[in-house]
């Protein structure tokens, strides 16, 4: 076995470990009657041990891939997103050791699992580094940013537990709608994973030529049946489905097609789950969050922002500026990714001020933490895929 294969297998082991650990954290909550038992639960301890094993194999994936390629595996969407999943688990382990709350694990690990699944939908080949990335700052800047973002993400997980526990799911309300919208979004990511995997297994491919927005001819490959066609497209693959409509050049019809497939699959999946459960998904998870102490969840959410914010500042702004000055001659260039890092930073700055001075605790704080996570994911996914800039490596 070569190193790259070993590396992929280690990642698979972590994936399975996180799945199993989730079950143990679920067990820890189900089996405990009192808060005391809940905190010292054997199930929880076993869950923690399995999580740590998964984290170690995840680090093993990272190290072996690094050795194989000769550079830190943080240079494309697959590598970055996988590292984000890894650090999310790392941040969870840190906070679990501090606070011992299985309900955090029950929500944090599935989110890590979804993130890793999402990562594996991107090309997984080991690629050599383009000149702009050939720097020691690749590791320093990216890993610090990933760690910062993961710790911040834990605050969203704690916020989610708080909200799932405290929102009255029996009455119609704005909060009930939005917490269900969060659940739906998570299912949509699963929809993306399901469609991509299905068509990958089927080996679906359709090639087209088209005219891009600069009026130059270009080629594109669809990996799912093309619902939307690129500007002035012509099919190159015989027998491929004819797109329903042709779109103007500024819209990437291929990505819109993938998105549409994911949303459709996600919606079907969601409906199926609703039919089985016969109640909102947030209500399904509510009993699992019920035993968490609200005050404690609020504090974990706040604490992780307090720990994560300086790390994020260091990685995503300070180290980023130092590297940008080395590679691109300016420390700041209003590139979309930079701007969104600044937006994330401003958002958490506003969060801290609202909390410290305006007393935004509990539900308000929990919602802000969830929105913060949405901004981080937006910067990771949408800015790379939709808004083109210097950071679009995927």
């Amino acid at each position: 076995m070569d190193l790259v294969t070993i590396s992929s297998n280690l990642l698979l082991v972590s994936f399975v470990a996180y799945l199993v650990a989730t079950l143990f954290f679920g067990g820890a909550i189900k089996k405990s009657k009192s808060e005391k038992a809940y905190h010292n639960s054997k199930w929880g301890t076993i869950g923690l041990v399995i999580t740590i094993i998964g984290f170690l194999t995840h680090v093993g994936y990272f190290a072996t891939r690094w050795i194989a390629s000769g550079h830190a595996p943080l240079s494309n969407m697959f590598e970055f997103t996988t590292a984000f999943g890894m650090m999310l688990v790392g941040a969870f382990i840190l906070l679990y050791i501090m606070y011992r709350t299985p309900s955090l694990g029950l929500f944090a690990l599935p989110i890590a699992i979804i993130i890793i699944s999402y990562a594996t939908m991107f090309p997984r080949e080991v690629t050599p580094l383009i000149p702009a990335l050939q720097s020691k700052w690749l590791f320093i800047h990216v890993i610090t940013t990933v760690i910062g973002e993961s710790i911040l993400a834990i605050s969203a997980v704690a916020g989610l537990v708080f909200l799932v526990k405290n929102i009255d799911m029996t009455k119609k309300s704005k909060q009930r709608f939005w917490i269900e919208a969060v659940m739906f979004t998570l299912v949509l990511v699963l929809g993306f994973v399901v469609t991509s995997t299905t068509f990958k297994v089927l080996g679906y491919e359709a090639e087209f030529t088209y005219i891009d927005k600069n009026e130059a001819p270009a080629e594109i490959t669809y990996h799912v049946p093309p619902l939307f066609g690129m500007n002035e497209y012509e099919a190159m693959t015989p027998g491929a489905m004819t797109p329903w409509v042709e779109l103007p050049p500024i819209i990437n019809a291929q990505r819109l097609t993938s998105l549409t497939w994911s949303v459709a699959a996600g919606a079907v999946l969601y409906l199926l789950l609703r039919l089985i459960a016969r109640k909102p998904l947030a209500a399904v998870f509510q009993p699992l969050a019920k035993k968490a102490n609200s005050q404690l969840m609020d504090e974990i959410g706040y604490r992780s922002v307090l720990i994560g914010f300086p790390v994020f500042t260091l990685g995503a702004l300070i180290f980023a500026m130092i590297w940008a000055h080395e590679a691109w001659s300016r420390f700041w260039g209003w590139d979309p990714k930079e701007v969104w890092a600044l937006i994330t930073w401003l958002f958490y700055a506003a969060f801290l001020h609202l909390r410290l001075s305006r007393g935004w605790e509990g539900q308000k704080s929990a919602w802000l933490a969830v929105i913060g996570f949405v901004i981080i994911m937006f910067n990771l996914i949408a800015v790379n895929l939709i808004i083109a800039g210097l950071h679009s490596y995927a």
């Binding site: 790259v4 808060e35 010292n40 080949e125 383009i130 209003w334 410290l356």
Partner: protein, 552 residues
């Protein structure tokens, strides 16, 4: 304004909410509140006290956190809007009309509004700069408004607090215990073990730790202000140089923006990863995408004009040879020269034959250096060629004349006069790539023989004296956030009141859970009354019994 005197005898500044020394509530608001607002120790803040003059109003506006958050959110939204479409500097256009056309062509009506509202140059717009200015003002005023009273208040606090202060704390407990003196001695010892600074005053204990963390916000705000100052300084001439230059292979040019320095381009290289040479692990990726760039490199020699020589003279001394690659700029005397761009295969020279059309015999050849063409090329044997016109970037005929759209030899064209012994008065010919025009039928023609090309390297020259100021700002900010966020200011008050009751109260600026953990630990070894956390009704009572370690 008059001072407020407390029952304890202390004179407090006008506007004080809680007595600086004993903590008695002084204002109506503080007296009526259940849990007292401890954020600034109830000290008198200018913004909360003076509200009449215009200066007061401006001060109060900027010192408000609500306004501050409003400004942050406004900057956030403006920044986000700026990323919807590409900003001005990423758009290949130069005039306003071209910009307008670009946005409307690609993004339709929305694009048109984006241009007209000025969002296409968001970050240089006057109102974005005003927002940043307001943010800086708010940071300065809000910090001063809080840090001074907070500092004074924490300095003046007394060990024994009035029971009315104790009772209004979030964590509070009271009760009778058996051996007060012994318990207090034990508590003092335990608190010291937990690294508290302990002060005692006949039957009262004040344990305090990490007060420095309270200064964190003000330190990080100072860092931000230093950063803003650095950015402002870039506007001063001499602090900041940002120039670009194109330099061809073999050329020696003065460095733009760095007077006295000269750069020679000894060759530009673009290298790709190839399947043959790259490591095996990259095979799959290279198969998939074709080629991936490995290096952009310009080999240069840096020269400096000798002291006392005239500008532009050839009196140079070599400084160093260097290979500029991405991520490794050439550095000298505060300047950085970066590899930013390139053009491959620009025409350098073109070689032509002068031929007799009928016999196709060559009368000789000549080479035109496109960057420095000569007026006349002597071919020997009485034949010569005069260059009457040179159009480096020929773009058709305009007003009856050939027209060059730029001085760059992308599409060179010439008007040659061919002088031969047969036709000593000369024949004229217009020669462009794949095209020859003659006014009259000529006997002789110019035939293209060969061309030489070279690469051009695009370099950026920067000098930024403010970098260290910006870096200092970043460093101070980091110190501030770490100091403020990784430590908490905790205080525990324990005292015996006049009736022999023991009161216990505690405060932290954040992270109450850890404070409770410490209190629980203290109560395990020391007989002290049970406490309540008045903001956590879900907290289990049995946890405080002290015989079980729950929060591990």
């Amino acid at each position: 304004m008059s001072k407020i005197s407390c029952q304890c005898g202390h004179e407090n500044p006008y506007g004080t909410e809680l007595c600086e020394q004993c903590g008695r509530p002084l204002s109506k608001k503080a007296k009526e509140s259940d849990i007292v607002d401890m954020r600034y120790e109830g000290a008198s803040r200018r913004s909360q006290t003076y509200k009449s003059s215009i200066i007061d109003k401006i001060w109060n506006f900027f010192s408000s956190v609500k306004i501050g958050v409003g400004i942050i959110v406004a900057v956030l939204l403006a920044s986000a809007i700026g990323t919807i479409f590409p900003q001005k500097f990423y758009v290949p256009a130069t005039t306003d009309a071209e910009y307008a056309e670009y946005y409307e062509r690609l993004y339709g009506v929305v694009g048109k509004f984006y241009f007209e509202l000025g969002f296409y140059d968001m970050y240089n717009s006057w109102w974005f700069k005003v927002l940043i200015g307001m943010l800086a003002t708010s940071i300065i005023i809000a910090s001063i408004d809080r840090v001074v009273p907070l500092y004074k208040s924490l300095k003046k606090q007394r060990t024994r607090r009035h029971p009315s202060f104790m009772k209004r704390q979030r964590i509070y407990g009271e009760g009778a215990i058996e051996n007060t003196a012994e318990s207090f001695a034990k508590a003092e010892e335990e608190l010291k073990k937990m690294r508290y600074n302990v002060k005692t005053e006949n039957g009262a204990i004040l344990a305090e730790k990490h007060r420095f963390s309270r200064w964190g916000p003000y330190v990080n705000h100072t860092g931000l202000i230093i950063f803003f100052v650095g950015v402002l300084l870039r506007g001063i001439p001499g602090f900041y140089v940002d120039e670009a230059m194109w330099i061809r292979e073999g050329e020696t040019r003065n460095i733009v923006g760095a007077p006295g320095y000269v750069l020679e381009n000894k060759g530009f290289t673009l290298e790709n990863y190839t399947k043959e040479e790259a490591e095996e692990v990259f095979g799959a990726a290279l198969d998939k995408v074709g080629s991936i760039v490995k290096t952009y490199k310009t080999d240069v020699t840096l020269y400096k004009e000798k002291e006392g020589s005239l500008p532009g003279s050839d009196n140079l001394e070599k400084v160093e040879d260097y290979a500029i690659v991405v991520n490794k700029p050439l550095k000298f005397n505060g300047y950085n020269v970066f590899q930013m761009d390139y053009k491959l295969d620009e025409l350098k020279t073109m070689t032509f034959h002068l031929v007799e059309k009928s016999s196709e015999a060559s009368l000789g050849e000549f080479t035109v250096d496109l960057s420095n063409p000569e007026k006349e090329y002597d071919l020997g044997n009485g034949a010569s060629v005069n260059m009457l016109g040179f159009y480096p970037d020929y773009d058709g005929i305009k007003d009856g004349e050939p027209y060059s759209k730029s001085p760059v030899p992308n599409n060179p064209a010439f008007i040659f006069q061919m002088n031969t012994p047969e036709k000593p008065t000369g024949e004229k010919s217009f020669v462009a790539i794949r095209q020859t025009l003659e006014v009259e039928q000529n006997d002789y023609a110019i035939k293209f023989a060969a061309a030489e090309t070279r690469n051009i390297s695009g370099l950026t020259i920067r000098k930024d004296k403010t970098l260290y100021i910006l870096l200092l700002g970043g460093l101070v900010f980091m110190i501030g956030v770490i100091q403020g966020m990784y430590w908490q200011h905790r205080r525990i008050w324990i005292q015996e009141d006049a009736d022999g009751h023991v009161l216990i109260a505690a405060h932290t600026n954040k992270n109450w859970f850890s404070l409770r953990k410490e209190l629980d630990k203290l109560r395990q070894s020391t007989a002290l009354p049970a406490y309540i956390d008045r903001q956590d009704p879900e907290l289990d009572k049995p946890e405080q019994e002290g015989d079980e370690e729950i929060w591990t």
